[in-house]
Amino acid sequence: MPEKRSVLIVEDDNHIRWHFERSILQHENLSLHGSAATFEGALNQMHSFPDVLLVDLGLPDGNGADLIRLLKAQAPRSEAIVITVFSDEFRVIEAIRAGAVGYLLKDSMPEDIGKMTMEMLNGISPISPAVARYIINALRPGAETAQQPNSLLSIKEVSVLQLVARGYTRDEIAEMVGNSVHTVVAHIRNIYRKLEVHSRNEAVFEACQLGLIKLNDN
């Protein structure tokens, strides 16, 4: 039996934090490293780093994305997952850019929380239609269509994103593009990775955002 992964939960809403604590404790492969309601409290518990950081971005005394950056800088093998109200695209994108591997919805079922955490640790990152749509729009340099994807993402990755934005599940996408689910998962993981890399390389992302402004101009 593999060693349990330690989880630090940072969430300012008590009910939700408790809900997540309970769910983690239920899972056979996860252990609770600790939990905090504030940015400060989280820092205090990070003298030793957890394997997984579950973090709400909108903390009362700081930004969860900074905690993710801190964790990834000090302990690159640890992973971060964002807790979000809905699959709320701007928060999620911010988290991805900070280095998160995915997100969990606050209303997830207890058994789903553990299961999805493990999935994300194994490289299966979730992606909602809203997030996909946001990435497509943000990376679109002008009025170009899917036939002229930007240089950041490959044509395959863009078409996967478009199908995700239309609400298709991973299985459906795999069937539609004639690939295995595994390949689709790899594409999504690549998209995450590319966004994170580019967030370090701010200039490009800024340029894309300028492109977004141009798009609105047209």
């Binding site: 695209e89 209303d107 995700v164």
Partner: protein, 612 residues
């Protein structure tokens, strides 16, 4: 412009020459061609009683008949009475330098002083009127006493005798050419010269204008010489003569400088040689010529003729090389000028000047007029190009400001859009984080409690989904139909998962980038949500198919929502849910059809226009 100026100039010349050439219909006067002459002595008060009268043919040029002589010569000519009444007159069109006239023993007039400084009438016709009473019944004589300096072309041309009324027109015509036209030439020359001088003073760098005005000044002196009766200012006859002849040469030197600069091809060596020649020759003449001054200058002027020939060849060659119109114009002008000058020079050196008109004064003004015209053309060209430049600059300014206006309007519009978008995002984020957080927290609180299946929980879920749809649709102003359907799917799927309903989403017939008109996204989302919720709540269906396809011809998208449920009962066909769907599809410019049979399910056909 040029053509019109040339035409005007030619017309003027033609008019002037026609006026000069006009002949009298009645010729009631005689040109006298034979006379007798005798050398006079100073101080005589009346025609001499002499036996030495010698027959002489007129014109009598002393350079030929008395070479080197200076002093008085008496001429006498027999007068035959002219029939009819009225006064009689004598016209002396040509003589040099001055004359006194007697009829028989009566003095009828003179052309000015007969002693030094003698009046200079070498270029001025003299006209004398006398009464018939002076005539005797038998023989009558006209005596003419002429004075001239040595070697100065002294002599007498043909006198004319006749009735005053008949002869006067001839006098006036000769006077017009010798005086009036010469004055006109002088005025023209002085005016152009002053203009050029001013121009040169304003723009010292332009030596062309300086040399032009110098040539004008020199030529003005030459014309003045023909018009003034006595040497001007304090000058002696000798220094005045010297100045006039030097001016002729310096004029040709100045013209050489002008020509070189006019065609942009200065030749320093030729210029220096010409200047040296004229200045040296002139200085030597001043010092050494004495009585021979005019003879010296007749020789020195050959240099001016050579210079003139050189200029003609030079200009013609420049024209050949560069095809500059001004080089051609200059060639023609100098040719005219030289021909006229040669005429006078040949007449003088061959002692023929008393039998012909002297016209040299009219040559250089031709050149000056050419230069004046050329300068006016340059001036108007510069004005034109300035005007064009100004208009062009104005046009550019107008264009740029128009561009700026457009740019500004764009910026304002962009800013407005950005602000609207930012406000929307801000609004939806606030809604999401604040209200959403509370709802979620509330749901978590309740989910641990006893209300698991209560209406409160499902109402709460519905509220959360509604808010999500609102945030999704409004926050991003999403108008891609495929993405709107995807968004609705992601929001309703968790609800559907709790039921036994199987939903199929068929979007393969819908191309990417099928766009609704802006702002219609939420309506479509609500239509789909309402339709799906209706099926979940009322249809008791096991299967729901949502299929979208694009019709490129009508630029529309067709969405079919088909279930295999119980159909819509008659009593709810016009219920609030269905009315809402109808209203929203009307708002987005589409239309909706409900096909339902009891027990056989329902099909909702939604047709919505898209941006083509």
């Amino acid at each position: 412009m040029t053509t019109r100026l040339i035409a005007a100039f030619v017309l003027l010349l033609a008019t002037a020459s026609a006026a000069v050439a006009q002949t009298d219909p009645v010729v009631n006067y005689r040109m006298l061609t034979q006379a007798e002459s005798v050398i006079g002595t100073p101080g005589e008060k009346s025609p001499p009683k002499s036996d030495a009268w010698q027959s002489v043919a007129l014109p009598d040029n002393w350079n030929a008949s008395h070479p080197g002589f200076g002093g008085y010569v008496w001429y006498r000519l027999p007068l035959q009475d002219i029939e009819g009444g009225g006064k009689l007159a004598v016209l002396l069109p040509r003589l040099c330098m001055n004359a006194e006239l007697w009829v028989n023993n009566s003095l009828i007039g003179d052309g000015g002083k007969m002693t030094d400084p003698v009046a200079r009438n070498w270029h001025r016709p003299l006209y004398f009127i006398f009464s018939r009473a002076l005539l005797k019944a038998d023989a009558n004589w006209l005596y003419i006493r002429v004075y001239a300096y040595p070697n100065d072309g002294g002599g007498l041309g043909h006198p004319y005798f006749g009735k005053d009324t008949d002869l006067k027109p001839l006098f006036e015509r000769v006077n017009f050419v010798d005086n009036t036209l010469s004055i006109a030439a002088l005025v023209l020359t002085v005016a152009v010269t002053l203009m050029l001088l001013t121009l040169w003073l304003l723009r010292k760098g332009q030596s062309l204008y300086g040399w032009m005005s110098a040539s004008g000044i020199f030529w003005s002196i030459v014309i003045v010489n023909q018009l003034f009766e006595y040497p001007p200012l304090w000058l002696t006859r000798y220094s005045w003569e010297w100045l006039v002849h030097s001016s002729i040469d310096l004029y040709s030197f100045s013209l050489l400088m002008v020509v070189h600069r006019f065609v942009d091809a200065p030749r320093k060596k030729i210029e220096a040689a010409t200047a040296t020649y004229f200045l040296t020759a002139s200085a030597l003449a001043w010092l050494l010529a004495g009585d021979q001054l005019v003879v010296w200058f007749n020789a020195i002027h050959i240099g001016a003729i050579v210079a003139g020939c050189y200029m003609i060849v030079f200009c013609a060659w420049q024209y050949w090389k560069t095809r500059q119109a001004r080089a051609l114009g200059m060639t023609i002008a100098i040719v005219c000028c030289l021909i006229i000058a040669m005429h006078d020079w040949l007449a003088i050196v061959t002692s023929k000047q008393l039998g012909t008109m002297l016209i040299m004064q009219f040559g250089p003004p031709i050149v000056l007029v050419l230069l004046g015209v050329w300068m006016m053309l340059q001036f108007s060209k510069v004005l034109d190009s300035e005007e064009r430049r100004r208009l062009q600059i104005e046009k550019q300014i107008a264009e740029v400001s128009e561009e700026l206006n457009i740019e500004h309007a764009k910026r304002m519009e962009l800013e407005r859009k950005t602000i609207v978008l930012a406000e929307r995002q801000q609004f939806s984020r606030e809604l999401h984080d604040g209200m959403g957080g509370h709802l979620m927290s509330l749901r978590n609180m309740l989910s641990g409690e006893v209300h698991k299946d209560s209406n409160i929980l499902s109402a709460l879920d519905q509220a959360i989904i509604d808010m999500r749809l609102l945030v999704d649709a409004v926050g991003e102003d999403n108008n891609d139909i495929g993405m709107i359907i995807g968004m609705v799917r992601s929001r309703v799927e968790p609800q559907i998962a709790h039921t036994s309903l199987r939903v199929e989403w068929q979007l393969t017939g819908l191309p990417m980038d099928c766009l609704l008109h802006k702002g219609y996204g939420l309506h479509l989302a609500r239509i789909l949500q309402e339709s799906i919720t209706n099926v979940m709540r009322h249809a008791q269906a096991g299967r729901l198919v949502i299929k979208a396809s694009h019709n490129a011809d009508s630029a529309a998208v067709m969405i079919e929502i088909t279930d295999n449920g119980c159909g819509i009962p008659e009593n709810v066909r016009f219920g609030r849910g269905i009315a809402n769907i109808r209203e929203r599809s009307r708002l987005i410019g589409g239309h909706v059809e409900f096909n339902s049979l009891p027990g056989q399910g329902t099909t909702i056909l939604l047709n919505i226009p898209v941006i083509s």
